[in-house]
Symmetry: C2
Subunit: 471 residues, 2 copies
């Protein structure tokens, strides 16, 4: 049964049911998306066409001459069940149903969804959706979704999202931040595949190093929990769960027919399983960015470098508020930093280099090196604000210093940049992001993300240690 | 004594001590800033020049032929006390000392600061700073600060910030959001003018309709509290206070020599005074934006319109988490919305219009009108996500519907937009912002801001009522 994942993410052949040459149709967008990068065999299915975008079209699935790994179904609601019966007849391994109009619209839709499941199960076809946005395997060049464009290859974050539109917004945001993804799955009503089966797949998928789940509901809570425990031992899992309030639960019911369950029990289970709970989709991306790009910290002691005293104070406040500490630096580290900065500046922590902008590049890079060498610092947060962010040689200097220090054996500790400047700084921001250094806007978000990762790291180290003691 | 404010913000004449024609000098930047828009008399002071940028220069303050309302001092630290003595001799009303190197650098600086105060007080000169960024009166075209550029006129928010660089970052962010300011004051070490005197000024300043304070410390807590009570009765005051943690307090001491005091007592006092406490500088701007641009809500009931079910669920969750409610809409309102949206969409709340994008403009505008007409809704939050945000006619439709409804007598209720799209949506975002509709990115920030304003409004209405009952 586990090969639904291979069929869905690495299919040798795809049939697109409802393929169209008319640009107003979803079947047109999907055809274009699949042609853009998918290297396997593609069969467009449309009873009214013999050829679509240079590919031979077939009237029905039954007419396809070869094996179909993945059927992508983009038909009017009422035609989907019949298409699923065809999938069963030809032995398709998985079927992705993008169409809506099922359980999320009430009793009639519920009945239609049950017929869809029955048709799939009769032929051993695993159903993804219905009422969903689709899926990506970025490293393969596969875009079987409603979203336009092919993301860059080379990513290691995978995203599973029950909400199509919100999931795609998260994905869009992450791309804007130069994050790269391995796989994306939007599974909408989750009529067939259970959450634990999805976890099983991503546990085994070596291309996925960080897994993000944006959930409204969980199917089979017990099995989900057990799978989560297993996956979380192998890779970080970041979960944002909506439908936690009464209004949210009502809204989830009409959105993906989700019964969202008890919020407190869910939160407890996630934490016990060793996964990370994010408060929102945005925070989920923030945490995944830090996890995928930087080493885990070995403690909670933060060192801050800033060119704005006030921002340093706010960030120090926020770090403590979220459970990190910002201790005064040891004397030898202060002694190493002092000669770099003006006499009226502070080497204590925050290291306040003051607005002496002409010296930013040497002060920032030198302080970073001193902090990497300091055993009493676990996390380094340079604040880049206005001029220090806009000065290209300073941003390049920060990036180079971090990469240089991280190459030294035994110096693994994470750096997160706190970014406080308008959009005129975007080009410089990209320098850091492309070097793999996470950038968070403003102090609160930076501190919150660093704290979530530090708490995770602490629990993770404790688990690893316990496992070594009691094998 | 209260005319320090008039002298500082509406000076008839300014002497710039340390004016320079050399572009590497602070005195050059200030000269350019003042010339850019300040309509009054300007006297550059520099012993080595007879003319700077077309203006006659004077060797010393004592040589200026007319009255000086405001002296702006941009000199090396050690020359500032002497300049202040000159200010006293010529009877300058206020002196703004931008230079640092005073109490924030330790005992020597502290002594220098005391000499500065003594020199000022001997001549009745009110001192702003030292170690500060300067001030703006945007409506006058006065930029007496280190920041480049003249903000647009016509604003009603004033910002008082102890931290220069962070304050300017806040100001820059706010400008990017098309917010307009009345006055900005960065007062650094606050050696002379006490916080309550600053409050007194802004209480009387009719151009300031919303006052933001970004504070590290408070001078004379009792007088501050009493002034705050008075100002908060006349206009909303939003306060962000840093230096609340132990690390933050240590950093504040070396930043502006601030003794930050007891955080809990401060929080309690702010709330009792009827002011609004923001958790960060960013949240302060968010709240000020909502207060300055929209009417106050009369209750906590939120109605949400969304084209992404998942985002609607998350926003509903967040609203409840921060103390707002998202009740199911009354039947007549649902009956009015239902014909506008697809059969499988939801009119319950969130109003989920589904991804049926061709109908976005009529669905959003029509739902907004129905929600304005509904007595069981106090706050309206349209979510604009990806396509609904990128479709210009939809964004224009939302903006027009809101303005149309708000013109109707008796329909005053606030609309805040929850914005979930990348930077490709910036142009459309500006359409809303220029129409005076606040835009907040992603659900958490939107809900948090709406909740802070709703709680303030509730307390404010209660105070007004109590004042009417017990005159």
């Amino acid at each position: 049964m586990a090969d639904w994942g291979e069929a869905a993410f690495n299919p040798s052949s795809i049939a697109l049911v409802g393929a169209s040459a008319k640009s107003s149709k979803l079947g047109y967008i999907l055809m274009r998306n699949l042609l853009e990068g998918y290297p396997g065999k593609l069969y467009p299915i449309n009873p009214g066409e013999t050829e679509i975008m240079g590919h031979q079209a077939y009237p029905r699935l039954l007419d396809v001459p070869g094996q179909v790994d993945l059927a992508v179904i983009a038909l009017p609601t009422e035609a989907c069940v019949e298409a699923m019966r065809d999938c069963a007849k030809i032995g398709a391994k998985a079927a992705l149903v993008l169409s809506g109009g099922f359980a999320e619209v009430g009793p009639d839709g519920q009945a239609r969804q049950e017929a869809l499941i029955e048709a799939a199960r009769a032929g051993g076809v695993r159903l993804i959706g219905p009422n969903c946005f689709g899926l990506y395997n970025c490293n393969l060049g596969l875009n079987a979704s409603m979203g336009l464009g092919l993301p860059p290859k080379g990513g290691s974050i995978s995203l599973v999202t029950q909400s199509g539109a919100y999931g795609m917004a998260i994905f869009g945001l992450a791309q804007q931040r130069h994050l790269r993804f391995a796989k994306i799955l939007s599974h909408g009503n989750k009529a067939d595949l259970a959450d634990h089966e999805i976890l099983d797949y991503f546990e085994q998928d070596d291309e996925t190093r960080v897994l993000c789940l944006f959930l409204e509901s969980v199917s089979d809570g017990r099995a989900f929990y057990e799978a989560l425990v297993r996956v979380a031992q192998r890779k970080p899992v970041v979960i944002a769960k909506t439908g936690r309030s009464s209004a949210g639960r009502r809204a989830a019911a009409s959105h993906t027919a989700a019964l969202t369950g008890d919020a407190t029990a869910f939160v407890t289970a996630v934490r016990q399983a060793g996964a990370i709970l994010a408060e929102s989709g945005l925070e989920m991306v923030d945490i995944a960015e830090g996890l995928s790009r930087q080493p885990l910290p070995t403690g909670r002691r933060v060192a801050i470098i800033t060119n704005s005293g006030g921002t340093g104070v706010e960030l120090a406040d926020m770090c403590e508020r979220f459970g990190l500490s910002v201790p005064e630096l040891p004397e030898d580290t202060q002694a190493r930093i002092s000669p770099l900065i003006p006499a009226y500046a502070s080497p204590r922590n925050p290291v306040d280099v003051t607005p002496a902008w002409a010296r930013f590049p040497e002060m920032y890079a030198g302080s970073i090196e001193a902090l990497y060498a300091c055993n009493e610092v676990d996390i380094i947060i340079p604040i880049l604000l206005q001029r220090s962010a806009l000065m290209r040689e300073n941003v390049e200097g920060v990036s180079e210093a971090v990469l240089r220090c991280q190459r030294e054996p035994g110096l693994a500790k994470p750096t997160y940049v706190c970014w406080v400047v308008g959009r005129e700084g975007d080009e410089n921001q990209a320098i850091l992001q492309e070097a793999g250094i996470p950038v968070y806007e403003w102090p609160e978000r930076t501190a919150r993300t660093a704290a979530a990762i530090a708490v995770y790291a602490e629990n993770h180290h404790a688990r690893v240690e316990a496992a070594n003691v009691n094998p």
